[in-house]
């Protein structure tokens, strides 16, 4: 078994127009920049993207939006230091936005990966975010029902991986990546280093390989915050 591939492009090209794509990352950490840029090169359009934010500057998710490839964004916090690209697309009605509280977003994704179609949460009870959602009382407290969130593809970034897809992450760059890996039909991961099986202590595996379909090694990967500080633009 060997799920590694030589380049992002050979696996990214299977993403069709209209796909729902989860993209890992939070703020400037943990986004699989090389995979996103390969998706820009590939050119799939009318995508629904799930991410915590709405991109920053003119690289990664922001660049994907700038290219007009994203019809809808599901996120918790579309503001950033430089959200210009998203703001312009949103104001021009070129992109739809679904705001989901961050913990609800995480749990919807976790449930999508765990085969649980709905769950109850106290989060957002009594707010406009809860409008139209079923409410039920448990032990005297009110909870709203939320549904799972699944995707056709997940693009994630890890640190070390092996040819089975076992993966580790790097500090706060972990964020949504491990749960997104579980919630997509096809998970494409980039890691900084591929090692032989056994090269990762089994006690240290964060994402077991069963959740990963394709793994590509990107040595010295781009870091979104650093790209933005250098005012990088893609393409």
């Amino acid at each position: 078994m060997d799920i590694t591939v030589a380049t992002p492009h050979e696996v990214i090209q299977q993403i069709p127009d209209g796909a729902t794509v989860m993209i890992g990352g939070f703020g400037g950490s943990g986004a699989p920049i090389e995979l996103i840029h390969a998706l820009i090169d590939h050119g799939a359009k009318h995508l629904t993207v799930v991410n915590n934010n709405a991109g920053n500057g003119h690289v990664g998710l922001a660049a994907l939006i700038e290219q007009g490839q994203v019809d809808k964004l599901i996120c918790s916090f579309p503001r950033s230091a430089d959200p210009t690209v998203f703001v312009e697309a949103y104001k021009a009605n070129k992109i739809a936005l679904e705001i989901v509280p961050q913990g609800t977003l995480a749990e919807r994704i976790r449930c999508g990966g765990a085969g649980i179609p709905a769950f109850y949460t106290p989060t957002a009870y009594g707010t406009e975010v809860a409008e139209g959602k079923p409410v039920e009382e448990f032990e005297g407290r009110s909870y709203i029902r939320e549904r799972w969130l699944k995707a056709d593809f997940a693009l994630i970034k890890g640190d070390v991986g092996d040819r089975h897809g076992n993966m580790t992450y790097r500090m706060a760059a972990r964020n949504f990546n491990p749960i997104m890996a579980t919630a997509a039909k096809v998970t494409i991961a980039q890691v900084s280093r591929v090692v032989d099986p056994g090269g990762i202590d089994p006690e240290h595996v964060v994402t077991p390989g069963i959740f990963v379909n394709h793994l590509v090694e990107i040595r010295n990967p781009a870091q979104e915050e650093e790209l933005n500080r250098a005012e990088a633009v893609y393409p």
């Binding site: 503001r79 703001v87 913990g103 995480a106 989060t123 957002a124 706060a172 964020n175 949504f176 870091q223």
Partner: protein, 229 residues
């Protein structure tokens, strides 16, 4: 009437006051921006573990400029540091800590706080792009939810109100307000004044508050170190 801007507490002083109430061993989440200042004023001898939504517990202070590792940030996207005892985890675990009631204290900013504890702090409701982040999760599930805020808006309108007119972040969630003029608890759907700065009279403070202030057990002077600006 006296000029409020001359007598009100600085944000650093408000943060200092809020920090005095955080007990040793507490797990604490601080909102983005002003609330983050609370971390700077922990009393000596207390060890507090800070949580950030993006998957870090027990992080250290900001690194020196040029020393940042941008894979190590807080929910405000600012660089933080690792220290002995730090742990990393994914977002679902991070919000299990929040939603599961494992956080002792969450301290957030506010647009409006109602006398029943309702909080509005995520959207002004006047258009613009809504952005909620983790606030709705935090306010509904931390064991104690407190607010640090100016007592009034820049226009002079009360932030402590009978009922919120802005979109709610959570219902009945806030139990203590550290404002630029006072410390106010929310008990039984009422504002209960605990402390006020000596420079303002009760009547003047009441005039700047959008609902009745109760004084159940007397009111203490709110005194903060003067060099915190």
């Amino acid at each position: 009437m006296i000029e409020i801007s001359d007598i009100k507490l600085s944000n650093a002083q408000i943060a200092w006051r809020a920090a005095q109430d955080i007990h040793d061993g507490a797990y604490v989440n601080l909102g983005i921006g002003f609330p983050e200042m609370v971390a700077s004023y922990q009393p000596e001898g207390r060890e507090v573990i800070f949580h950030t939504e993006n998957g870090v517990l027990g992080f250290g202070a900001a690194p020196a400029p040029g020393e940042e590792d941008w894979d190590l940030i807080n929910a405000g996207k600012k660089a933080i540091t690792q220290k002995l005892g730090t742990s990393f985890f994914h977002h679902a675990d991070s919000f299990a800590m929040v939603r599961g009631g494992h956080l002792d204290v969450a301290i957030l900013g506010a647009y409006q706080i109602a006398q029943n504890g309702d909080l509005a702090n995520w959207s002004t409701g006047k258009g613009g792009i809504p952005a909620v982040g983790g606030a709705m999760d935090l306010v509904q599930s931390a064991k104690r939810v407190a607010v640090v805020t100016d007592h009034i808006t820049k226009k002079g309108d009360p932030k402590l109100v009978e009922s919120c007119t802005m979109p709610l972040t959570g219902v009945g969630c806030v139990t203590r307000i550290y404002s630029s003029l006072a410390v106010v608890d929310i008990e039984g759907n009422r504002f209960v004044l605990r402390e006020k700065i000596p420079a303002i009279s009760f009547d003047d403070l009441q005039a700047l508050t959008g609902a009745e202030l109760y004084t159940n057990e007397g009111v203490d002077d709110l005194i903060c170190p003067e060099d915190l600006v």
